[in-house]
């Protein structure tokens, strides 16, 4: 597998750094090389937050994401800030609360209700990050399903396993049911 660069962006408190760590651990279970990094402001909640994951069969030297293959943005601010870093042909996953879509015709955009599904279907806003991981998997297959599930279950608090499994499943569904899912695998 060639080097895949993924960027998860949103606001602090949405669990994106944990999502990045889980994705990285899943890649590790798959036997890949992986680097995960993050940046965030001084705030505990509400500031801009981003997590980055690089997955590759080769040794990963330069550890930063420059141009990414996939961008997840849960807020308008994050989308506006990072949209230029998405490669041509790349995949953009937007929460459907992001209403101003970028004016780019060289990328594939998936607008899905991640935050709403967490809040209304699962009654737990905090699992939005796990739903997002499910959608990222379904769209990119950058890690295997088994490894992703294993990584999720080993990182979430005890007693929340079923909830998080359900959240992953909701994430898969959001892409499966998406009208434009024929674009399929990008990796």
């Amino acid at each position: 597998m060639r080097r895949q660069e993924l960027r998860l962006s949103g606001s602090g408190g949405q669990g994106l750094i944990l999502a990045g760590i889980i994705l990285a651990e899943a890649a590790l279970h798959d036997g890949k090389n992986v680097v995960q990094s993050q940046s965030y402001g001084p705030e505990a909640r509400g500031g801009a937050s981003k997590a980055e994951v690089i997955i590759s069969d080769d040794i990963i030297n330069y550890p930063k994401v420059n141009k990414c293959d996939m961008l997840l943005s849960l807020t308008q601010k994050a989308c506006d800030k990072y949209i230029d870093s998405l490669k041509p042909g790349g995949v953009l996953i937007l929460d459907n609360t992001v209403t101003e879509h970028p004016n780019r015709d060289d990328i594939k955009i998936y607008s899905i209700p991640i935050l709403e599904t967490a809040e209304d279907t699962l009654n737990k806003p905090m699992v939005a990050n796990i739903i997002a991981l499910g959608s990222i998997y379904q769209l990119t297959k950058v890690v295997s399903k088994e490894s992703l599930e294993k990584a999720v279950l080993s990182r979430v608090p005890r007693g929340t396993e079923e909830l998080n499994k359900k959240a992953l499943g909701e994430g898969f569904k959001l892409i499966k049911n998406h009208k434009d899912s024929s674009y399929g695998e990008v990796c």
Partner: protein
């Protein structure tokens, strides 16, 4: 051989795990970004193995505490960043002259002063070398991967014990905060060095007498029946202060030479694609990772570039740099500062070849693309 554990690990965590493997049983510190996880994880892990963690009121107290703990026989560490590292300099000097083994981690951030708290920089190269006053030598190590942080932290403790000196571990925010795959070496792959304890009894013990054939004095631990005096003043073999000029000359010279005479043992480095290189990059820490990516890209275009990556940055790998300089048409020092290591490399290599520098101080890691275009410009 038993299978190694493979994990996703953060750089700061690898530092704590390496330290504990090396025998760290005492940590004192004052948290500061981007080193804070080292304090947090030490606080979580040390009590479980019979160690002690102290959060002190400031950085000066922290380094004083680890010096005290080390004198009781416990391997000790503190971690900080830029402004905190400035505050620790007085204590580092005290550890140098009193020959107390300890490890000081500085996860660098943009400076001067509070600077850029969450951004990477490599601006403490010279502060690590000359931050404390007076003539002295110092050992400074600089890892560039999470695995290297683990190994280098162990080595920092080993060198501190062997040479009875503070050892500084310089780290980059980039590696300290990122997580990557690490294969943890098994116990039988790891060498641990412990300080030499006195063989004589308390009444015959001279705390600063170097035995024939030894590099440093044997070190008793407070609490084991040996009574001795420790001071930041120039002292005789008894450990008591003196103004004797002859003793002062001997002591300072010995403290410098115990390191400078053993450079071959202390210096560690990595050579990357050097065999047929006619042009060489010198880079360390995170910048060396960017340089590797750049070198791979340049090689694909037929440009023969290699890298010399010092892992021990002080003392310098003078001999190795000299040998390279005699063979290549140019050496480029790439670092996230305005030329701190460049001038030293130039001092060594400048007589033999052209030495250039490329640097940046905006709080961002230098990219492979930048290095590629810098090398191509010639």
């Amino acid at each position: 051989m038993a299978e190694r554990t493979v994990k996703l690990m953060q750089g700061n965590e690898a530092c704590v795990d390496g330290a504990i493997t090396a025998g760290m049983r005492f940590y004192a510190g004052y948290p500061i970004t981007p080193s804070t996880e080292i304090a947090e994880l030490s606080a979580a892990k040390l009590p479980r193995i019979g160690g002690k963690f102290l959060q002190m009121e400031d950085e000066i107290a922290s380094i004083s505490a680890i010096i005290g703990a080390s004198l009781t026989g416990h391997k000790s560490m503190t971690a900080t960043s830029g402004p905190g590292f400035s505050l620790k300099q007085e204590g580092i000097g005290y550890a140098v002259i009193s020959e107390v083994p300890c490890v000081i981690v500085d996860v660098q951030r943009g400076g001067p002063s509070t600077g850029l708290p969450t951004s990477p920089a490599q601006g403490d190269i010279m502060q690590a070398r000359w931050g404390t006053h007076g003539d002295h030598s110092i050992i400074v190590l600089y890892p560039s991967t999470v695995r290297e942080i683990y190994d280098t932290t162990i080595r920092a403790f080993n060198l501190a014990e062997k040479y009875r000196t503070p050892v500084i571990l310089l780290m980059d925010e980039v590696i300290a905060h990122m997580r990557e795959k690490i294969e943890i070496p098994n116990d039988d792959e790891i060498k641990i060095y412990n300080r030499k304890k006195p063989e004589v009894n308390s009444s015959e013990y001279l705390p600063y007498k170097v035995k024939e054939g030894d590099i440093v004095p044997e070190m008793a631990s407070f609490g084991e029946g040996y009574r001795f005096h420790v001071t930041g003043l120039v002292h005789s073999e008894t450990g008591l202060p003196t103004n004797d000029h002859k003793i002062a000359e001997e002591l300072t010279t010995r403290l410098v030479n115990k390191i400078e005479d053993n450079v071959d043992d202390i210096v560690e480095y990595e050579e990357y694609r050097l065999e047929d290189a006619d042009e060489v990059i010198v880079a360390y820490g995170a910048t060396a990772r960017s340089a590797k990516s750049a070198i791979n890209a340049l090689r694909e275009e037929g440009i023969k570039v290699g890298m010399f990556k010092p892992i021990t940055i002080w003392p310098m790998a003078q001999k190795q740099i000299e040998d390279i300089a005699k063979k290549v048409k140019r050496i480029s020092v790439i670092e996230m500062n305005m030329g701190q290591y460049f001038l030293e490399v130039d001092r060594i290599a400048g007589k033999f070849t052209k030495v250039d520098r490329y640097g940046r101080v905006n709080g961002e890691l230098i990219t492979p693309e930048e290095i590629v275009s810098f090398i191509k410009e010639g």
